[in-house]
Symmetry: C2
Subunit: 437 residues, 2 copies
């Protein structure tokens, strides 16, 4: 085979064979197909698309480019959750210990934040000492002992995806449905899980801005995950406003601890419970979704999720004093309230703008090698639909310096809209797809 | 500017500004835009196209990536000819001295053969000692003295085109109208010429197989050349069968010498005369095309083109004994006749297949760094429309070895078709475009 022939075929809109796709991906992985041919091929894929068969072959080839983690010696149906990325989207920290406490093992491999969306690993690393880089043996042992481990993708999981993603990022070929699906699912399949719950975000703070695009992504992910042998369910959820009341790594850990202690904002609690219920439902063959909902609610209320999270933090080297006393989590030097510019009802808190503002504060990454500051971010004092008086603190900005706080001020002004009347309430969960439909 | 934004804009079908195009081309030239971004951009251009404005900006940027040869100190309208490439397409060797002998200076920069089409430089180098790598000073001095010089593109002419072409070759982005036009014209504009005659080939041995595609290419080249300030005319000519009776470098030189001595095959003579007449017409303001036709015919018959060619060969270091006695040109070890498989009329001699067979013999290049054998090739004993008896020699194969001749035998069988009746005659010149329309 020759790369140029495979590029030409895709350029001309032909359907590639699994062999051709496998050959290109192997070439990406071992370096035998040079970057300039991979990027021309990626652009042809972006513009010509791929069939479901092609995307499945791409997923399979990316899995085969690295190790497939073997969790078959562990009992139970292994379930993970994947979110397509949002702002204040911190459910993983609640879900993983909660579902594990319900008896369903959760081998969770997460990513770092890039762009305006946060990443689970960055949040966990706000806890001093927390190690996200476990070896696969440590990972398996912890899963056996605690039913749950929270780690980053190891370098030997789907290495072809890393090569291709790095190229996509600099060649304007990120936003392609088949490429996105194969990238997400190859890493999940390689984890060795049996079932997967997807949280597909839609709105200003999401990768997909329109419900139509998000639904297409959810549909494609569900059908591909099923072809890859995973039991799968997906929620389509709103990401026009941040989830919960905090954005920024330590602030989000604190909020998750609130939830695990029985408090926390209603939207974060509701979404964490529903995603957990789907995971338990998939993880306990024969259970009903309603019974799973009851089980996760009771388990959360019992404090078992908190205890399990504390045990995970301890096992992964984190400072449990920060769990027992969230005041010990990192604090930013400057905490300045952003006052409501007028009185009325909060109509909009634009998640996309707030996410980009958080990156500017240092909470996220503009480039993959940027360092993240765990302490900075935003603490929302009110959310969409709340009444507020002019001048009342609407957002507390946690920043490294007054200059940093100044820098994001205009973005906050742009992100906030206050109206005379309360906006019509918007559903958080727009739809459910896959096994649970 | 960022390459990823320019790639994205073209991916989305937007029209790029001259600044954006200039920035990408400069990046190709100085290496600041990496190959993988250039190739993604080229694929986006291939699939989305370019407007005439964009293509003109691309041409201009590629010219500006290198030197623009200054021929303004030389008197006269400087005219060159460019062919899009064919099999047995050897007119340059006749045209350059013929037009120069008519008093119009011909600063001819040519390429090497690649793929199944031949290249003027390879043909000239069949003459022992012939130097195609003159310095620009030598080039100018020879033009002043002899009115004509035949050289290769120097490395400082349109270097960005070299970078982009090398990428296009391995990323299936060669066959794009705007990219082809900019590549051809940037090199011609950089030569410092005033006028250009284009020979756009159509047929099995040409880059464009259909008349519609070839006409689109000719139209685009003519309008872009005019925008670049060149006086331009173009012929659309048939390339289903080889031009003339020889394919292969030394064999083609011999045939051109026949033409310059007043003999040679009718098709080669006719096309050489018409292209020369167009060049003289563009090169002599105020002349008519008919008067130019008379002038080139009389000049060829006078032997002046032959004398001028001999002087050029001598000046460029070639062995003039090969010009005075073509028997001195390189000979292949094996000369084996391919007999007519049946009696009748030659209906087809497929130029594409014969061109590829000639590459297999060693007359051309499968890869840019292949070495060419000047002696090998094909000598056609009959051409399309001729009557032939079964077993009569139809093609004499000039090969390095019997094994080489054996290797091309099945291709010759495939290339030849003999019918009971003479095929309807096909015109050689299909149309004329541009200034001469």
């Amino acid at each position: 085979m020759r790369a140029v022939d495979i590029i030409r075929a895709k350029r001309d809109g032909l359907v590639l064979t699994a062999d051709q796709i496998g050959w290109m991906v192997a070439g990406a992985s071992d370096g035998s197909v040079p970057d300039y041919q991979l990027s021309a091929w990626l652009m042809a894929v972006w513009l010509r698309g791929m069939t479901t068969d092609e995307t499945a072959a791409l997923t399979e080839a990316m899995v085969d480019s690295g190790v497939r983690v073997d969790l078959s010696t562990l009992p139970g149906v292994k379930v993970d959750k994947h979110s397509t990325g949002g702002v204040g989207d911190k459910t993983s920290l609640v879900i993983a210990p909660l579902v594990a406490a319900c008896g369903v093992p959760v081998p969770m491999m997460s990513g770092r934040g890039l762009g305006h969306t946060g990443g689970t690993l960055d949040k966990l690393e706000a806890i001093t000492g927390f190690r996200t880089g476990l070896s696969l043996d440590e990972f398996r042992a912890q899963l056996a002992d605690l039913g749950c481990a929270l780690i980053g993708q190891t370098r030997d999981v789907a290495p072809a995806d890393r090569t291709l993603y790095a190229l996509r990022d600099v060649t304007a070929t990120v936003e392609s449905l088949p490429l996105i699906c194969a990238s997400i699912l190859s890493k999940k399949v390689a984890e060795g899980i049996d079932a997967l719950v997807l949280d597909v975000k839609v709105g200003s703070g999401a990768f997909m801005q329109s419900e139509r695009d998000a639904r297409a992504l959810a549909d494609a992910l569900v059908s591909l995950a099923e072809r890859s042998g995973l039991h799968v369910a997906a929620l389509l959820t709103n990401m026009d406003a941040p989830l919960g009341r905090t954005i920024g790594n330590a602030l989000e850990v604190r909020e998750c601890l609130d939830v695990m202690r029985g408090g926390g904002p209603a939207d974060l609690v509701a979404l964490s419970l529903e995603l957990s219920a789907l995971m338990v439902w998939l993880g306990m063959p024969g259970s009903s979704l309603d019974a799973s909902r009851d089980l996760v609610r009771i388990t959360l209320a019992s404090g078992a999720a908190f205890d399990r999270f504390r045990a995970v933090v301890e096992r992964q080297g984190g400072d449990v004093r920060m769990i027992d006393d969230p005041q010990q989590l990192p604090h930013a030097a400057v905490q300045r309230p952003f006052p409501a510019p007028r009185g009325g009802f909060v109509e909009r808190l634009d998640a996309g703008i707030l996410g980009r503002a958080a990156v500017l504060l240092g909470a996220g990454r503009a480039r993959a090698d940027d360092r993240v500051d765990p302490a900075v971010g935003f603490d929302l004092q009110a959310t969409v639909g709340d009444a507020i008086s002019v001048g009342a603190p609407l957002i507390v900005v946690h920043a490294r310096s007054a200059a940093d706080a100044d820098a994001v001020w205009p973005m906050l002004t742009e992100a906030v809209r206050i109206a005379d009347q309360a906006p019509a309430p918007q559903p958080l969960i727009l739809d459910r797809l896959g096994a649970a439909r």
